[in-house]
C-alpha cells in the first residue's frame, strides 16, 4: 500500500501489486568487451532522482512496463510499455 504506479493496462495500482525489475540497462552485443558485460551484469547507476526502470504487474495483467520514477520521492512521472515510444 505504498506509492501508486499506473499500469498502462490496469490503471493506477499500489506498488505492492508490482515486482521491481530494476533500472533500465543496455545489454551488450555478443563479442563486446568483457568490461561492458561486467558493467551490464553488476554495475548500476542507482540514480537518486529520475530513473527509467522496469516494473512487472505481478498481481495484475502480468506484463512488464517501464516507469520513470523519482527514486527520492517515489513520484512516478510516466509509465509506458517497453518498446513503445514514451509520451
Amino acid at each position: 500500500m505504498g506509492f501508486l504506479l499506473k499500469c498502462p493496462n490496469c490503471g493506477e495500482r499500489t506498488v505492492y501489486e508490482y515486482r521491481s525489475g530494476g533500472e533500465e540497462t543496455d545489454r551488450p552485443q555478443p563479442g563486446d568487451p568483457a568490461q561492458d558485460w561486467t558493467r551490464y551484469f553488476y554495475l548500476r547507476r542507482n540514480a537518486a532522482g529520475d530513473q527509467r526502470e522496469w516494473w512487472y504487474h505481478a498481481l495484475g495483467c502480468r506484463r512488464w512496463l517501464i516507469a520513470v520514477r523519482d527514486t527520492v520521492t517515489n513520484q512516478v512521472k510516466e509509465t509506458y510499455w517497453p518498446g513503445e515510444a514514451q509520451a
Binding site: 500500500m1 505504498g2 515486482r19 555478443p30 568483457a34 551484469f41 506484463r63 512488464w64 518498446g83
Partner: protein
C-alpha cells in the same frame, strides 16, 4: 471500591456523555467499580476516588490523569490482559478487568518509588558512562536493569486473534478530525457531491466544542450558540449527509504514500485510500514546566473540562489555574461554575485581558488573577496539596513567591498544532513567532489542512478554513489550499523555568526526563535536537512527543540562545497513536497451496512437508521402502507442484533457444529435452524439461518454487522485443503424477490406449492421449532413474487418475512415494536440484551440467558469462562422493582440507540400493578427480570419502531407457 461516588457527579447537562440510566460494573485491582455508559475507565475510577493511575517509567513516581484525552502515558493500565491501555480513552464496559502496571504492591505504595530518591545518582546519560569497567560488570548489571524496565506485561497465554478485522475504504476526500474545522470541511466536500469519509478518535463528533460551554456569536454561517450546541448542530448535518461516512472512535494513525490512511477503530483496522486528505487534527494542549509538575492533581485545562462536562465530575475542591493564554480563563470559569474553588489564576502575560469576557466574569466572581505570574512549584508528595507561584520578569521567575493551598493545578500552556499526519506526508513546518509554534507552511499535493492544526484559533477561523479546505479537496486540484493564520493571540513563551537544586520539572513525563536532564545533555555537547533526543531519550516514550516536544524546543532555544526555528524538530513518525500488532496483522494466515491429490495423501497418513507455499508428502512411511519399491517394482509420486508453462507462438523455438543454454529449435515435436536457465552472468536460475508439442508450442516445466520467477523472466525478455511468443502459467491446471519403476509400463498400459511400448515410446519422448479415460500429456522422463512417465492430466481428474494408478499397479506391488524418496533416488542418479546442489553463483559448467550448454549458439542468456567462466576454468565443482564408513553426512556439512573448510556437502543420503553413504558435494576443482580422497566434517570428525564422478546407480542410464 467504595461507593461509586455517584453523588459526587455534577447534575445533568447537555454536554454529558454519560447515561445515568445505564449503570456498568467492572473490576479494578480486584475491586468492583460502578460506572455509567459513556464513562471511560478513567472517569469511572476517578469518580470512585482513584487519583494515582500509574507509576512512572524510571522513578516510579505517582502519576494521575493529566490530558484525559489518550495522549500522555499517565494512565496506562492493563485491561483484560492487554498491556499499556490508556484508560482515559478506553470506554468503561461491563465486566472488564482493569489492573495496575509497573507498581508493587500497589499504586499508592510502590516499593520501587525508592528509585525516585536516587535520581541524583542516575543523571542523564548515566548508563553510557558507567557499569562497563571491568568488562563483566555490564553482564551482571544489564539483567538487573532489564528487570525493572518496561511498563505493562505481556500475557503469557494469548487471547484469540479472531477479534481483529481488516477493512479497505476508498473516498474522494478523507477528513481527519471531527471538530469544527473537520465537520465543516466534510460538509463542504459533501456539498460538492463527492464521497467523504470523516474520521475522529472520540466517541462522538465535535472535537473540543463538545465540552465548550462558551457562547459564540454568529460565525461563518453558524448561528450564535454555545460551543456544544454548534457541535451538535454540525454533527447532525454531517450525520444526515448521504455523502459522508463517519468513523468515530477511529484513530488515523498514519498518512502514507499515495494518501493512504491507516486507521484503527477498536478491533478494526481500516485502510483508507483517498484522492485528497484534509487534516483537521487540531492541537494538543501543552503542560508547563515547574518543580513537581507531574504530581497527581495536575491537569491540562482541557482534561479538566472533559471530566467536568463529559463525565460530570467535580474534579476537586480547590484549583490553581496557570495560564499563558486566554484558554485558562475559560477553564477557570468552568471550574468555578462546577463548584471548584479557584484559589488563583496566574497568567504569564503581563497584562490582565480586559477585553476577555471570561476574565471579567472571574473578577466579578472574586477570583484572584495574577498577571506576570507563573507556577514554580507544586506542593505535596502523592498528590497536589498546594502550589507556589512567582512573579515573572521577562518570562523568568523571581524570588517573589506566594503559596496557595489546592488539590488541583489546571495548566493552560497553549496549544501546539497536531501536525504529525501532515509531517508524515511531507509537509514543511515553519516557526511562527507570533504564535510561538511551528505551523505547517507547505503542504504536499492532495493534502489540505484546516483548523487549529494550522495555528488558527477561534471557531470562526476553524469553520471558514474547514469549508475552504473541504471545497478545495473535493475539487481535487493539484494545488493545495493553505493559508497561515493572519492573527495570533498574544502569548509569551510557554515555558517558565524555575531551576532550583533538587528541582523536578518534567519535560518528558513518559521517560521521566527533567529540564535539568535536558540542559545537562546540551552542556555535554548534544547540541542538535536529534542527538539530544537520542542521548536523553526525551520524546521517545509512549506519547512520542505530544506532551513534550514543544517544551523541549523552548528549552533548547533558551539554553542554546537560538531562535526556536534554528533548534529544529525531531521527526514525527507513524503511528500517531500506538496500534496493536494484532490489529495490523488481522486474522491473517500464511497461505498454503495444496495439490489436487492432497486429500489422498492425508488420508494415507502421509507426513507432509512445506516446500515453498506448497505442502507435499515427505513420505508415507519409510522413504527407504518407497525407494526400493521404485527401484524394484513401481511407484507413483504427486509432482503437481512442478511449475508448468505453456509457451506458444511462431517465435517460440527461437525464444527458448535464447532463454536456455540448450537448443530447442532443433527439438522435434513429440520430444522432450532437459534444459537449464541461467542469468546473463551465467548463474543457474532454474532447470526443467521442455517438450515440443507442436511446431509452435512447447510445454515447459520448472522446479516447484521457481515457476513465478521463470514466468516473470520469460515475460521480461519478451517485453518490447516483438517476439511472437505467448507464455501462460498452467501450473494449477494440471495434476501431475510420475509413474516410475520396472513395472511402470505394465501398470500404465492397463489404463491407456497410447502405445507405451519400449519401441514406440522412447526415453525423452512425449505423447498426448488418455489415461483412465481422461486426457493426458505423457512425458517419458526419468528424474528418479527408472522407466517412467510424467503424466499431466486436468487438475480435476487428479484424484481419479491417482486412484486408478494405485489400483492398476496393485498386482505389481505399486507404492506411493514422497519427496524424500524422490530426493534419494535422484541423488543416486546424480540429478541436481537447483538451490540445493547449486547456489547463487553456481553455473552449469561447475555443476555437472556442461553438456547442456551449447556454445555453438550465437547468443543465449548467460552465454557471455559462461564463456568467461569456461575460459577461467572452474574453481569449484559439484561431484559425487561415497563415504568410506557408513556414516551419512548432513546436507550442509563441510568438506575440509587439514581441518579448514574448502567445500560443502549439498546432498547426502544412505543409498537403499547399494547400502552406501553417498552424496554430492561442491569441492575445489583440483579435488574433482575420480577416486580422490576428500574429507567431510561430520560431528567433529573429518571422515574420508572418495570422489565418484559417475552416478551411483545405473551410470549408463540403461534402466532409464528400458
Amino acid at each position: 471500591m467504595a461507593a461509586g461516588d455517584c453523588e459526587a457527579r455534577l447534575g445533568p447537562h447537555p454536554t454529558q456523555a454519560i447515561d445515568r440510566s445505564k449503570p456498568i460494573a467492572f473490576r479494578f485491582e480486584g475491586e468492583p467499580v460502578q460506572a455509567f455508559e459513556g464513562d471511560t475507565i478513567a472517569s469511572a475510577l476517578y469518580a470512585a476516588g482513584v487519583r494515582i493511575f500509574s507509576r512512572s517509567f524510571k522513578y516510579h513516581r505517582p502519576r494521575g490523569l493529566t490530558c484525559v484525552a489518550g495522549r500522555c502515558s499517565n494512565c496506562l493500565m492493563t485491561v483484560d490482559g492487554v498491556p499499556n491501555v490508556r484508560v482515559c480513552a478506553a470506554p468503561a464496559t461491563d465486566g472488564v478487568v482493569v489492573s495496575r502496571q509497573n507498581a508493587w504492591p500497589s499504586l499508592e505504595r510502590d516499593l520501587l518509588s525508592v528509585l525516585d530518591r536516587f535520581g541524583w545518582a542516575m543523571p542523564v546519560g548515566f548508563y553510557y558512562k558507567s557499569l562497563y569497567r571491568p568488562r563483566l560488570l555490564w553482564k551482571i548489571a544489564s539483567p538487573i536493569i532489564r528487570r525493572v524496565a518496561g511498563i505493562g506485561a505481556v500475557a503469557a497465554e494469548a487471547p484469540s486473534v479472531a477479534r481483529y478485522t481488516h477493512r479497505n475504504l476508498h473516498a474522494e476526500v478523507a477528513v481527519v478530525g471531527g471538530g469544527a474545522a473537520g465537520m465543516s470541511a466534510a460538509l463542504a466536500a459533501s456539498d460538492a457531491g463527492v464521497r467523504v469519509v470523516l474520521i475522529d478518535d472520540e466517541p462522538a463528533l465535535g472535537g473540543s466544542l463538545r465540552y465548550d460551554l462558551r457562547s459564540y456569536p454568529e460565525a461563518a454561517g453558524q448561528p450564535a450558540a454555545h460551543g456544544y450546541e454548534t457541535a451538535n448542530d454540525l454533527a447532525g448535518a454531517v450525520q444526515s449527509s448521504p455523502n459522508v461516512e463517519v468513523l468515530t472512535g477511529a484513530t488515523a494513525f498514519g498518512l502514507y504514500e499515495g494518501n493512504l490512511l491507516g486507521i484503527r477503530r477498536g478491533s478494526e483496522f481500516v485502510k483508507l485510500r483517498a484522492k485528497s486528505i484534509v487534516a483537521a487534527t487540531g492541537a494538543y494542549e501543552q503542560p508547563l514546566l515547574y518543580d513537581r509538575n507531574d504530581l497527581p492533581g495536575t491537569f491540562l485545562s482541557s482534561g479538566l473540562r472533559r471530566l467536568m462536562h463529559l463525565h460530570r465530575l467535580r474534579p476537586g475542591g480547590a484549583a490553581l489555574v496557570a495560564a499563558t493564554n486566554d484558554e485558562g480563563y475559560h477553564a477557570a470559569l468552568d471550574l468555578v461554575n462546577s463548584g471548584v474553588q479557584v484559589v488563583a489564576l496566574v497568567d504569564s502575560r503581563p497584562r490582565f485581558p480586559h477585553d476577555l469576557d471570561a476574565a471579567k466574569e472571574l473578577q466579578t466572581r472574586g477570583v484572584l488573577v495574577l498577571p506576570s505570574h507563573g507556577v514554580v512549584r507544586a506542593e505535596g508528595t502523592k498528590r497536589v496539596a498546594g502550589a507556589a507561584v512567582s512573579r515573572l520578569t521577562e518570562g523568568r521567575p523571581t524570588t517573589e513567591e506566594r503559596e496557595f493551598d489546592c488539590d488541583l493545578i489546571c495548566l493552560s500552556g497553549g496549544f501546539t498544532p497536531a501536525g504529525a499526519l501532515l509531517a508524515q506526508a511531507g509537509a514543511a513546518f515553519g516557526f511562527n513567532a507570533a504564535l510561538g509554534e511551528s505551523v505547517p507552511v507547505k503542504l504536499p499535493p492532495g493534502v489540505f489542512a484546516a483548523g487549529s492544526v494550522t495555528g488558527a484559533s477561534g471557531l470562526d477561523d476553524a469553520l471558514r478554513q474547514g469549508r475552504e479546505a473541504g471545497a478545495a479537496a473535493a475539487e481535487g486540484g493539484a494545488l493545495s489550499f493553505f493559508r497561515p493564520p493572519e492573527t495570533a493571540p498574544a502569548r509569551v513563551d510557554a515555558a517558565p523555568l524555575a531551576e532550583a537544586p533538587g528541582s523536578r520539572g518534567f519535560v518528558c513525563l513518559c521517560e521521566d526526563i527533567t529540564s535539568k536532564d535536558v540542559v545537562t545533555a546540551i552542556r555535554e555537547g548534544f547540541t542538535d535536537i536529534q542527538t539530544l533526543k537520542r542521548y536523553s531519550t526525551v520524546t521517545m516514550g509512549p506519547c512520542q512527543g505530544k506532551m513534550c516536544h514543544r517544551a523541549l524546543v523552548s528549552l533548547c532555544a533558551l539554553e542554546m540562545r537560538q531562535p526556536p526555528d534554528a533548534v529544529g524538530a525531531t521527526t514525527q513518525r507513524p503511528p500517531l497513536q500506538p496500534v496493536p500488532l494484532g490489529a495490523l496483522a488481522g486474522a491473517a494466515y500464511l497461505p498454503i497451496k495444496r495439490t489436487p491429490m492432497d486429500r489422498r495423501h492425508r488420508a494415507a497418513g502421509a507426513r507432509m512437508v512445506d516446500v515453498g507455499p506448497w505442502q507435499r508428502p515427505h513420505s508415507y512411511g519409510s522413504p527407504r521402502d518407497e525407494c526400493l519399491a521404485v527401484r524394484n517394482r513401481v511407484g507413483i509420486i504427486d509432482v503437481s507442484t512442478l511449475g508448468k508453462l505453456d509457451v506458444a507462438g511462431a517465435d517460440a523455438p527461437a525464444f527458448l533457444d535464447r532463454m536456455y543454454t540448450h537448443k530447442f529449435s532443433t527439438l522435434r515435436p513429440g520430444r522432450t529435452r532437459y534444459g537449464i536457465l541461467c542469468t546473463d552472468s551465467g548463474s543457474i536460475l532454474d532447470d526443467g524439461t521442455v517438450t515440443r508439442l507442436r511446431e509452435d508450442r512447447y510445454f515447459v516445466t520448472t522446479s516447484t518454487t521457481n515457476v513465478d520467477t521463470v514466468e516473470d523472466w520469460f515475460r521480461w525478455w519478451l517485453a518490447g522485443a516483438r517476439w511472437r511468443v505467448y507464455v501462460t502459467n498452467v501450473t494449477s491446471a494440471y495434476a501431475s503424477i510420475n509413474v516410475a519403476g520396472p513395472r511402470a509400463r505394465e501398470t500404465l498400459a492397463k489404463l491407456t490406449d497410447v502405445d507405451i511400448s519400449r519401441r514406440a515410446f522412447k526415453y525423452m519422448r512425449s505423447a498426448e492421449g488418455n489415461v483412465a479415460g481422461v486426457p493426458c500429456l505423457f512425458l517419458r522422463v526419468g528424474f528418479v532413474g527408472e522407466t517412467g512417465w510424467e503424466l499431466h492430466v486436468p487438475a480435476q481428474y487428479g484424484e481419479h487418475v491417482w486412484d486408478a494408478l494405485l489400483e492398476a499397479g496393485e498386482e505389481f506391488g505399486i507404492a506411493k512415494f514422497g519427496v524424500e524418496a524422490q530426493r534419494i533416488l535422484r541423488l543416486e542418479k546424480k540429478h541436481i536440484i537447483p538451490g540445493q546442489d547449486t547456489d547463487l553463483v553456481s553455473n552449469p559448467l561447475d555443476s555437472g551440467s556442461a553438456w547442456t550448454v551449447r556454445f555453438d549458439k550465437e547468443d543465449f542468456i548467460g552465454r557471455e558469462g559462461l564463456a568467461a567462466a569456461r575460459e577461467r576454468g572452474a574453481r569449484e565443482l559439484l561431484v559425487g562422493f561415497v563415504m568410506q564408513e557408513r556414516v551419512v553426512p548432513s546436507d550442509g556439512n563441510a568438506v575440509t582440507v587439514g581441518g579448514f573448510p574448502v567445500g560443502r556437502v549439498t546432498s547426502a543420503r544412505l543409498s537403499p540400493t547399494t547400502g552406501q553413504a553417498f552424496g554430492l558435494a561442491r569441492v575445489p576443482a583440483e579435488l574433482a578427480q575420480e577416486g580422490q580422497e576428500i574429507h567431510i566434517h561430520v560431528e567433529g570428525r573429518d571422515l574420508p570419502a572418495a570422489v565418484r564422478l559417475e552416478p551411483l546407480y545405473d551410470p549408463k542410464g540403461e534402466r532409464l531407457r528400458a
